[in-house]
């Protein structure tokens, strides 16, 4: 399972890196002569309503979408892990304040909150990452905090305290590595959600801006032609599903490997 998941992820990374070499066409070059061509040897995935090669666009899109999946997870992960560790370790008012902030964030529907933040900051990928970081960290913070709460009362943590280690050392050297397994698994399933999220936000016109090739944007732009030209939506859609599947597989395999049971 791990091998399968990693193969899919690795494949996408390779495609993204090699996109400039293997893509037969410029992803944003319009060619009015070749509009809405069905898949053929020249255009394996066909062409869209502007005559752009869908295959090339899907390849270039991998770059953007992988970036969304990675950056959209990394920032929430870092913020959430830090906040959760501190809240769980110190407890008391630090914990109370952080937990109330989390309650507030959770009180709003996820997508509505994302959309409002992006609307304030203005559309674009940067806004998307900022919104993701502001909203997504809460899950990580809660996961890590719960783990730290359990771990800090265990003997090895007490032993570290009795040996006079500094708080920072106890938190990040002793507690955190033992608390991480659950969140690392969650990172994988979260990457799937972030990817779909990024695609939805772009679909709504608030993320990646046309004419940049991104799978969500491609699906959005092509929806008007779905009855005449199914290939414009199908291939980017398949790419999203496959990449998500890769993350999912890897996450499940990691969970088994690390003994995390959801």
């Amino acid at each position: 399972m791990l091998a399968g998941g990693l193969a899919i992820l690795g494949g996408f990374v390779a495609l993204a890196l090699l996109a400039p070499l293997i893509a037969p066409f410029d992803p944003i070059l319009q060619n009015p002569e070749a509009k809405l061509l069905p898949p053929s040897w020249a255009h394996p995935f066909g062409t869209d309503n502007f005559g752009r090669d869908v295959f090339s666009r899907v390849l270039w899109g991998a770059r953007i979408d992988l970036q969304i999946a990675v950056l959209g997870v990394v920032f929430p992960f870092l913020i959430g892990t830090g906040a959760g560790t501190v809240a769980g370790f110190f407890g008391g008012w630090v914990d109370a304040v952080l937990m109330r902030i989390i309650d507030v964030v959770l009180a709003f529907p996820f997508l509505v909150l994302m959309l409002s933040i992006i609307a304030i900051l203005g559309p674009g990928l940067a806004s998307f990452y900022i919104a993701m970081a502001l909203v997504g960290w809460v899950s990580y913070a809660r996961l890590i905090r719960a783990q730290i709460l359990v771990l800090k009362s265990q003997d090895f943590a007490v032993a570290a305290a009795s040996l006079g280690f500094s708080r920072l050392r106890i938190m990040f050297r002793h507690l955190l590595p033992n608390a991480l397994a659950g969140s690392l698994v969650f990172v994988m399933s979260d990457a799937v959600l972030v990817l779909l999220n990024g695609a939805s936000i772009s679909y709504l016109g608030l993320g990646v801006q046309p004419p940049v090739a991104e799978w969500g944007v491609m699906v959005a732009e092509a929806q008007g032609f779905i009855s005449q030209a199914w290939w414009i939506t199908l291939f980017p859609g398949l790419a999203i599903v496959t990449l998500a599947f890769g993350f999912s597989l890897t996450g499940d395999a990691l969970a088994d490997l690390m003994g995390v049971h959801e």
Binding site: D155, F156, A159
Partner: protein, 562 residues
């Protein structure tokens, strides 16, 4: 006489892919009517598995009975419909009653369930029978217990409730899997007495699984010794204990800490003149408990004014039952838990007035060893990394000397140097505990505080660790604060013993004296309740029921304050 239950040449194997391991290897043993058979052995020896096989409760699908038979009155119950037999003719009780009683069902209903299913009793008849059973197992107010939930009772009472649930089906055989391991000695004595009582009154046959040779010596008729899935020796208890035939049994008997015969540890030197290392005055610790919004705040007083001092080089054993405040005491003098009142002075530094200086002194001169050997080491670090971290943090060993020092530390605690690259998970409990001691020694401490550090280990390993502590204390002049609930170990290791009860020190004196002539009734009761390995020295001091225990718990554990 044909035995009631016969286990003939029983083998159980674990199969996982190509791996095929024999976990029980040709066990043959019988249990007579009204007999108590003690099944002893260390963890992993297969004693619980044997009983689960008899009950038809194999814990995994990968386990298979590969040979042999289990006969109840001549009828093979492994192949027959076992559900009808289980519960009705064979009952089972477990080590941890809390997890085996349904927390959302009253004790009465759990008993009635069995009564209805196996004996067809319902309604008022079932209720009357259940109340009678609760009275038989020693509930002071059986009618009230009938409609109570398990959480209301102490561990000892829960174990009684579980016995009542098992008895509801009128079994002929009761399998008791470490029924008293989680209990204090005085409560253990009561439960063992109850089991013997039930045997006498109801003609019950009992298989008692335990790791404690004292328990079998006191209660059983015959003893079966298991090791690595094999039955190494079976025999009448007096004969077996007096002249064990198998080398392993001899080792077990020799490892059993003796209370009665062995000499108590003697003071190694006269330390009267020296300045006290630890000086504890009127120490009180209270934890908030329950209460909250619009409810009175309850306070649990873990320590109620403890005063005591330790001189350099002393070996002090701190004993007491669970909840007596021993561990809180250790953590408070280490500065890990804050005192509510009173003071701890370590080497002239007060934890109250000069906390920072006192903590600094404590951290560099006092080290702790913990109860759970696996849990007290960071599971993600190798033993070498764990030791190196301490050495670096202390800053007294030059960096290039660290690997050599790690080797020395491992030598000191009797671990092979190659084990430095292993993580705790791939070590045994005894090895982990040695690593824990090595970590404590890495600080180069003057004092070691050991909190129940042998409680989780098998007896033979226990004996080794205690010997290690004795050597270390002698060779390095360490001061040792050894916290334990096992009085026999303390007597053998420590020159001075402190007895704690409900957050107070009730007795403090030289081991030899305290054990020979306890000044307080509580200490005497505690000593008397220890099951001796000599069957002819019966346990004493057990009360007839737990009434005192529950009342004392209620009165002492929670006190309303503010």
């Amino acid at each position: 006489m044909t035995p009631l239950l016969e286990i003939c040449n029983l083998s159980v194997a674990f199969r996982d892919g190509d791996e095929n391991r024999l976990l029980l290897d040709g066990i043959t043993v019988g249990l007579g009517q009204g007999e108590i058979l003690g099944l002893v052995g260390e963890s992993g020896s297969g004693k619980s598995l044997l009983c689960r096989t008899v009950m038809g409760l194999l814990p995994s699908r990968r386990l298979r009975v590969t040979a042999g038979a289990v006969r109840l009155e001549g009828r093979d119950i492994l192949n027959d419909d076992i559900a009808a037999i289980r519960g009705r003719r064979i009952g089972m009780i477990f080590q941890n009653p809390t997890s085996h009683l349904d927390p959302v069902m009253t004790i009465g209903r759990q008993i009635c369930e069995g009564l209805g299913r196996h004996r067809g009793l319902t309604g008022a008849a079932a209720r009357a029978e259940a109340v009678d059973l609760l009275a038989q197992v020693g509930f002071p107010d059986p009618a009230e217990a009938f409609s109570s939930y398990a959480h209301r009772f102490s561990g000892g009472m829960r174990q009684r409730a579980m016995i009542a649930v098992a008895l509801a089906c009128e079994p002929e055989i009761l399998i008791a899997d470490e029924p008293t391991t989680a209990l204090d000695v005085t409560i253990q004595a009561q439960i063992l007495r109850l089991l013997m009582d039930l045997r006498d009154r109801r003609g019950l046959s009992i298989i008692l699984i335990t790791h404690d040779l004292g328990v079998v010596a006191q209660t059983c008729d015959r003893i079966a010794v298991m090791r690595r899935g094999q039955l190494v020796e079976v025999g009448e208890k007096r004969a077996l204990l007096a002249a064990p035939a198998h080398a392993y049994t001899r080792q077990l008997v020799a490892s059993h800490p003796l209370l009665s015969h062995a000499e108590a540890a003697l003071p190694r030197h006269d330390a009267d003149g020296a300045e006290p290392l630890f000086d504890v005055r009127g120490l009180e610790v209270a934890f908030p408990r329950g209460g909250g919004f619009l409810r009175p705040r309850r306070v649990f007083r873990a320590l109620k004014g403890v005063s005591f001092s330790v001189r350099p080089g002393e070996t002090v054993g701190i004993v007491g039952e669970s909840g007596s405040g021993k561990s809180t005491f250790a953590r408070t003098i280490m500065g890990l838990t804050r005192a509510t009142a009173g003071d701890v002075v370590f080497a002239g530094h007060s934890l109250r007035s000069g906390r920072a200086a006192a903590l600094k002194a404590l951290r560099s001169e006092v080290a702790m060893v913990f109860q759970d050997p696996f849990n007290s080491l960071n599971p993600r670090m190798t033993i070498g990394q764990t030791l190196a971290e301490v050495l670096r943090d202390q800053g007294e060993t030059p960096h290039d000397r660290i690997p050599g020092r790690i080797g020395e530390l491992l030598d000191m605690v009797g671990l092979e140097r190659a084990l430095a690259d292993r993580r705790p998970r791939s070590l045994s409990g005894g090895q982990c505990q040695r690593a824990g001691i090595a970590r404590a020694l890495a600080v180069n401490p003057k004092v070691i505080v050991a909190d129940e550090c042998v409680a989780a280990l098998d007896v033979t390993i226990q004996a080794q660790i205690v010997a290690l502590f004795r050597d270390l204390a002698e060779q390095q002049g360490l001061t040792l604060l050894f916290i334990a609930h096992d009085l026999a170990i303390v007597r053998n290791l420590c020159e001075r013993v402190v007895v704690m009860h409900h957050g107070e020190i009730v007795e403090d004196g030289p081991s030899a004296e305290v054990f020979a002539r306890p000044a307080r009734a509580y200490t005497a009761e505690l000593i008397a309740a220890i099951p001796d390995i000599d069957p002819d020295r019966p346990m004493g001091g057990a009360r007839t029921n737990d009434k005192n225990d529950t009342n004392a718990n209620n009165a002492n554990k929670e006190e309303l304050a503010t």
